[in-house]
Amino acid sequence: MADDTKEWREESVSVDGTNLIVVKGGTGRPMLVLHDELGHPGWLKWTRAMARRRTLLIPLHPGFGRTERAEWMMSIRDLAGFYARYLKENGLAPLDVIGFSLGGWIAAEMAASNPGQFRKMILVAPAGIRPPSGNILDVFQLMAPQQLMASVYDPPNTPEFPELFGGGMSPEAFEMFEDARAQTARLAWTPYMHNPTLPHLLGVAAGLPTLIVWGRQDAVVPASAGDAYRAAIRGARLVTFDNCGHRPEIEKSAEFIREVEAFLAD
């Protein structure tokens, strides 16, 4: 884990009786960060850059290892509703949001339900819509290390890749991944990693400033889903990086930071 405890702290917020753990760091206007299906990867280059202009609020999804599991929660839409409560009850909306993969799907479900809770939305290779061509990789038929490898186009030449999860695979790391994967299964086993009704409801988010970022060689969620997202949210902009997989924020971190900063600037 590439963590520097000086840059962030954890707080616990009660939502519907669940003690939600939120990693908080940075300065300025708040921004909601929704992590991916393998959990919060720690404080990375892009996080550090973003923390200079935003107070980052990174809730650790219930059941992913740190925040306790909420037994009633059985879909990504349930989780989206849970976060809507978190925002409203803590007076945080409207705010900027960035979501990665599964976290992008959560953000999209939140926007489809109530776009007013967001100021600007960034979706990074979001799951949630069935790609018009290709299939979302069935990560449940991989062990966690293979899933991790599949998420990056060129792991040896991705400087932050070893930093992501500490290089090796300790029993603790393995266990944390399995927690995340188990909860992902509970929320998104079938239909797998998408919600057929989402494209129909996302139209309500027309006009919400939206940036969609994708790696052209994404082996987890095929880049064709980016077109579907752009079509579903009128006015959304799609940026695609070449030689890049499912994690543009670490694979193309300089370009990624530039795009995101330009998008967020008023």
């Binding site: 449940f140 038929q141 991989l142 062990m143 293979q146 695979m169 300790s170 029993p171 603790e172 393995f174 266990e175 399995e178 927690d179 994967r181 188990a182 909860q183 992902t184 299964a185 509970r186 086993w189 079938t190």
Partner: protein
């Protein structure tokens, strides 16, 4: 004692090389020939009739999906046929995979029909399903244990609670429950639970007073597991006895020692000695959420061990075993070792692996994972197993390697005529009562409140 006959009903024509490279699950079904499959399925039914005619007390079935290891993907169909074509034997289903069934009310009806057609000979048993089953049936592994518990409660209710009633659960919902298919056995057929030594399941069995059937597990961890059951039973206020336990044992006999050994070694490709590691690759055996937190922690330790096996799912499958730590952990560790197999994708040297597999057969035999020989030579070894585990239920597991129908029939005949009668006598001598003789959970704890053990490793020393 209750003595059963069992076979996985494998598809015996699967290319051996494919099994070595992949394990059984996930071999493309282009290798399956329905005509050959049809022949085998009919032979398996005939073998059950033979087993009944020659004196076995029960015939046992199980269920797996998408695998040549076991063709019985809809076990209740076979059970329904057996209900009609047999007359006396118990039809022992170990078990219906509750979480992957999807519709527990329908299952309650199917089992009721089997019980009625067989005129009350059904023994029902339920499992969580192997990891691979969750993929084959699209059952969400994250809710496996929840599905199991809820489906179990629902089936038992459907059998015992007068309808019509409405059911609103977490995972299952029925607006009208009033089945006109009810078991002939009241309040319901006996429930036995088979397993591979998951402590969680064993404790659950003890709480429900269900006999636990260990499926060809290693003797030492099995004794430790019996003790976990014993302690959980004591908490429920009863003393365990042989009626609480069953054991499935690979036994293969032939006319001569040499022939028995020559054929038995092929059972290394039929489940002998390697538990379920041959079943499939770990990504299919450990789907996310399928294991409890404790079990995941044990898998995590196994996973991060650099000596974990590599290559073929068979590699390193034999000779692993108990780790350190508490009895519960040792039991669970052995379960994982034998269900793990390959952690890393690597090129597999098929010939070398095949040789390795055959080379480990003597070791498997020494550990009594397979008992083979002539009827006369196997009896003392079966006696040893019975002395150690003292089970009230004992299953003879057929050689499930690629051997002929004739060799299998000879095995059944020699077992029934020469081994079963001897085992029955040993059972009497050792007081190994079955659940049909003593109601599980009916024994009182000793006055001291400290429960007595059923199994013991002491006989192994002699």
């Amino acid at each position: 004692m209750h003595l059963m006959y069992f076979t996985e009903r494998p598809y015996r024509h699967v290319p051996n090389d494919e099994v070595i490279k992949n394990g059984f699950f996930g071999i493309p079904n282009k290798h399956f020939d329905s005509v050959k499959g049809s022949q085998l399925l009919n032979e398996y039914l005939d073998e059950k009739i033979l087993a009944e005619q020659l004196g076995f007390d029960g015939v046992m079935l199980n269920e797996h999906h998408d695998t040549a290891f076991c063709m019985g993907s809809v076990m209740n169909v076979e059970a329904a046929i057996l209900a009609r074509i047999t007359e006396r034997v118990k039809i022992v289903l170990l078990g219906n995979p509750l979480p992957v069934v999807g519709n527990p009310l329908r299952l309650a009806e199917e089992l009721s029909l089997i019980d009625m057609i067989s005129r009350g000979r059904l023994v029902t048993g339920w499992v969580r399903g192997a990891g691979s089953e969750q993929f084959a049936t699209n059952a969400n592994p994250g809710y496996n244990r929840e599905y199991f518990n809820e489906a179990h409660d629902l089936v038992v209710q459907a059998w015992t609670r007068p309808g019509p009633w409405r059911y609103e659960g977490k995972h299952f919902h029925y607006r009208f429950v009033d089945p006109w298919a009810l078991p002939i056995q009241k309040p319901h057929p006996p429930i036995w639970i088979p397993g591979l030594l998951s402590p969680e399941t064993v404790i659950w069995c003890a709480q429900h007073k269900y006999p636990y059937i260990a499926l060809a597990t290693f003797l030492e961890p099995t004794v430790e597991l019996w003790n976990i059951y014993r302690d959980a039973a004591a908490k429920e206020g009863y003393q365990v006895g042989p009626e609480n336990f069953g054991y499935l044992q690979k036994v293969f006999v032939a006319e001569t020692e040499e022939k028995a050994h020559d054929l038995a070694k092929w059972d290394m490709f039929g489940g002998a000695g390697i538990g379920y590691s041959l079943f499939g690759k770990p990504q299919w055996m450990f789907p996310p959420g399928y294991n409890s937190k404790d079990a995941t922690r044990r898998v995590a330790r196994q996973f991060s061990d650099p000596s974990s096996s590599k290559g073929s799912p068979f590699a390193n499958a034999v000779g692993g075993g108990a780790g350190n730590g508490s009895a519960t952990e040792r039991v669970a560790a052995s379960q994982i070792d034998y269900r793990t197999g390959a952690w890393q994708e690597e090129h597999v040297d098929v010939e070398a692996t095949r040789k390795q597999i055959f080379d480990t057969f003597p070791q498997v035999e020494r550990a009594m994972q397979v008992i083979c020989g002539t009827p006369k030579s196997v009896i003392p070894r079966i006696r040893k197993v019975l002395e150690v585990l003292r089970p009230g239920i004992f299953g003879f597991w057929q050689n499930d390697g690629p051997i002929s129908a004739e060799a299998r029939t000879t095995n059944i005949r020699l077992l029934a005529e020469e081994v079963v009668p001897a085992v029955r006598e040993i059972g009497k001598e050792l007081g190994l009562v079955s659940p049909f003789e003593v109601q599980p959970g009916s024994r009182k704890l000793p006055a001291s409140g400290i429960p007595e053990s059923v199994g013991s490793l002491a006989p192994l020393a002699s």
